[in-house]
């Protein structure tokens, strides 16, 4: 300790340094503390020296100290987060697939039970769960021009539309079975749909596909849409229909085992009205097809005439349906609205009206470029022999040349119907031509 003068009365540097480094004895430390208590200058010196030492020590340790273990995991956290996210997504997809599988299994179970039970009473039941995955294979039977309506008037076709009921084709549809009178089948077709529509109005499926129901909601029959005779017959038949439906269904159950190919056309024309005279097998298949159509909610197929050849096609259609029983996952992620298949080729329309094509039974999908107007709501299969007659009847103004070429091809022809009931044809599912 220097005592030579006022300035040098401060504690010397070495003592302060030793105090800072805790190198003094307790006695010396007390003396220095007593001085520091009264000397602001030495307190400042000690504090500054200690701060500098702390910074030096921190810099030395910072250079020598390895990084904290958790800091080295910083880069590893990124892939870990990615793996975790992938796991979550995979789990979600798996759960969703399992859910769909269970739904499809439930649907298949319901279908199986429908085949064994009386079909007419169970028609509306599979509507709700079967919507996304229910494949639809159209019954390819020769269409008959039962409805002599104007093809340019969609309201006419909508009049006969209803869920679960095949829709009759426009009058421009070639009439292969020209022997049947046009009026009578139309009346028969109107009887059945009216009753079915009343029944389906309260079905939950209408709520599920509310948008599509809205699309067809304005299709109320008007006096201008049909002929007076049709309107009159329609009213009468609608009244009778409700009274006769229960009894006819009972008759259908009783006569289901009796094959009667001669009544195939009647079965197809009247649907459940003449179910009692229909063969049991075709009846069952027909019912199954109706269920699938119900699930799609927009299957507006015309009432086909069931013939002996059509039964085979119905069987093949059932086989295709079985192939398509697995859930269909379109690239858009939307529920399937309509499905048609031929061998391994599958066409599907999602809820937005986009058409997808698959060549491997639905394993992979490609989106078909939009070549039609309006909103696609239905796709169906039409074999070449069924499509052959239109070659002579298709108007030339509606692209008959390409259609003729397409229809003359021996392969399957797909049909696409938009919300304006306009028809497009395609032989390969990719190139579509307006009919």
């Amino acid at each position: 300790m220097n005592v030579n003068g006022q300035h040098e009365m401060h504690t010397d540097v070495e003592t302060l340094s030793a105090f800072t480094e805790q190198a003094l004895s307790a006695k010396e430390r007390g003396v220095v503390l007593a001085h520091l208590a009264v000397c602001g200058r030495c307190r400042q010196v000690v504090v500054l020296a200690r701060e500098a030492a702390s910074i030096e020590v921190a810099a030395r340790h910072g250079a020598a100290r390895p990084r904290a273990w958790w800091k080295s995991w910083g880069l590893a956290l990124v892939p870990a987060a990615g793996v975790a996210a992938t796991g979550v997504i995979a789990f979600y997809v798996h759960e969703r697939a399992m859910e769909r599988t269970s739904e499809v299994a439930k649907l298949e179970q319901q279908r199986a039970s429908e085949k064994t039970a009386a079909p007419p009473q169970r028609l509306p039941e599979p509507l709700a769960p079967a919507a996304p995955a229910a494949p639809t294979t159209r019954v390819d039977v020769p269409a008959t021009p039962r409805v002599p309506a104007n093809p340019g008037s969609p309201s006419r076709s909508r009049e006969t539309e209803r869920p679960g009921e095949v829709r009759r084709e426009p009058t421009t549809e070639p009439d292969e079975t020209a022997s049947a009178p046009p009026a009578a089948p139309a009346t028969e077709a109107l009887n059945g749909p009216a009753t079915e529509r009343e029944r389906y109005r309260g079905s939950p499926a209408g709520e599920i596909h509310g948008d599509m129901a809205y699309a067809y909601a304005p299709s109320q029959p008007s006096a201008n849409d049909k002929t007076p005779s049709e309107a009159a017959m329609h009213d009468e038949e609608r009244k009778k229909q409700s009274e006769e439906t229960a009894e006819e269904r009972r008759q259908f159950a009783a006569k289901a085992a009796t094959p009667s190919s001669s009544n195939d056309s009647e079965v197809d024309k009247t649907g459940i009205d003449n179910a009692g005279s229909a063969p049991a097998e075709s009846r069952t298949a027909r019912s199954s097809e109706q269920v699938e159509v119900d699930a799609q909610q927009l299957e507006l197929q015309p009432v086909p005439d069931v013939s002996a050849g059509s039964l085979m096609r119905m069987r093949s259609g059932a086989f295709s349906s079985a192939l398509m029983a697995r859930p269909i996952h379109l690239p858009s992620g939307l529920p399937v609205l309509s499905v048609a298949s031929s061998d391994h080729r599958v066409l599907a329309i999602d809820k937005k009206g986009s058409l997808y094509f698959s060549e491997d039974s639905g394993l992979t999908w490609e989106k078909v470029k939009r070549q039609w107007t309006g909103r696609a709501i239905l796709v169906r299969k039409k074999n070449s022999e069924d499509a052959a007659p239109p070659v002579t009847t298709v108007p030339e103004s509606s692209g008959s040349t390409s259609v003729s070429d397409t229809l003359s091809h021996p392969e399957t022809v797909f049909e696409l119907v938009n919300d304006q009931s306009e028809l497009w044809l395609s032989a390969d599912g990719r190139i579509w031509t307006a009919k």
């Binding site: 340094s17 030793a18 208590a37 504090v47 030096e56």
Partner: protein, 319 residues
């Protein structure tokens, strides 16, 4: 060897190693001196044995192994004394002071950059820090002269602490002194300047007699505090240092400083109350007096502590 390796550019300093101290040199046990030489890293940078012996003898001559003057130290006492020294730093500092070139090279390689970093940390500015470090480096090199003789500050280093700590403290001292000179000997931060000035327009509700009694009680209570409590109170309340800064100085945890500071404050308050009661005030009156506006109390704590500085040095001088 050392004489031959004296740096040509470095003049001989007044504190050059004296090798003609037979009594001091002979006082160190030869075997202990051999052990110290073997343990020293002086040979690594070219220090000769006789130079080492001279430096050790010079370190002993000033303190006599920490014993009273004239007392003969045993070998164990000598060993304890040298164990308490930073002998390597001491040898390096003395070798540098004598102008040993290899010692300076070793010093520069070892302490040059830390010296600059410490100066920058102390000044808070790289420019000022480098200037401060260069100034000290020039002093260490022996450019300053007094009465015609070069004065190397390294000669004042006696190895009680580390050489780097000594250098840092020297830098801090230079910086504080420079700052105080520039600010007319005002401390770096003097919050008491504002606190000591009483408010001119403050209503003086407490009677003057009670205030003077309170001032005496406070002064007496502060004088009765021990050194550590006074240091804590001064560092925290006068200098405005943080608990962490105080803890670093004392080498304890800041929680310990906080606890000690709270105890010191409570003890001081109780002592003030006792002093007031001892002067004739009732407890209630004493507590009411403590509730007086601090601006009314003309107690300059800094001045009070400065006045006690003489007492502290008297205590130290008596040691």
């Amino acid at each position: 060897m050392a004489s031959a390796e004296t740096v040509a550019g470095v003049p001989e300093t007044a504190g050059a190693i004296r090798t003609d101290i037979p009594a001091q040199r002979g006082a160190i046990d030869p075997r202990l001196l051999d052990e110290l030489w073997r343990a020293s890293d002086g040979p690594s940078w070219g220090l000769a044995r006789d130079e080492f012996d001279a430096i050790a003898a010079d370190a002993v001559a000033a303190w006599n192994f920490g014993l009273a003057a004239g007392a003969n130290a045993t070998r164990e006492q000598q060993a304890d004394y040298f164990r308490g020294l930073r002998l390597d730093d001491l040898v390096l500092a003395r070798a540098c002071a004598t102008g040993n070139e290899r010692a300076w090279e070793h010093f520069i390689a070892r302490h040059r950059q830390p010296l600059i970093r410490a100066a920058i940390a102390i000044t808070g500015s790289e420019t000022l820090g480098r200037d401060l470090a260069d100034q000290l480096y020039a002093e260490l090199f022996g450019l300053n002269t007094r009465e015609g003789e070069r004065r190397c500050p390294l000669l004042s280093y006696r190895g009680r602490g580390s050489l780097m700590g000594w250098l840092r403290t020297t830098l801090a001292q230079r910086h504080v002194d420079h700052h105080r000179r520039e600010w007319r000997l005002k401390p770096l931060d003097d919050p008491m300047d504002e606190m000591a000035a009483p408010a001119a327009d403050a209503p003086q509700e407490t009677p003057a007699a009670e205030l003077s009694q309170l001032q005496r009680a406070i002064e007496q209570a502060l004088r009765e505090c021990d050194a550590e409590e006074r240091f804590l109170l001064a560092a925290y309340y006068l200098d405005g240092q943080t608990l962490l800064q105080i803890a670093r100085v004392l080498g304890v945890h800041e929680a310990t400083v906080s606890r000690k500071l709270r105890r010191a404050t409570e003890a001081t308050r109780k002592q003030v109350l006792r002093n007031l009661q001892r002067d004739g005030s009732s407890r209630r009156a004493a507590e009411e007096a403590l509730g007086a506006d601090p601006r009314d109390v003309e107690v300059n704590l800094k001045k009070l502590l400065q006045n006690s500085q003489t007492e502290a040095f008297n205590e130290q001088a008596a040691l």
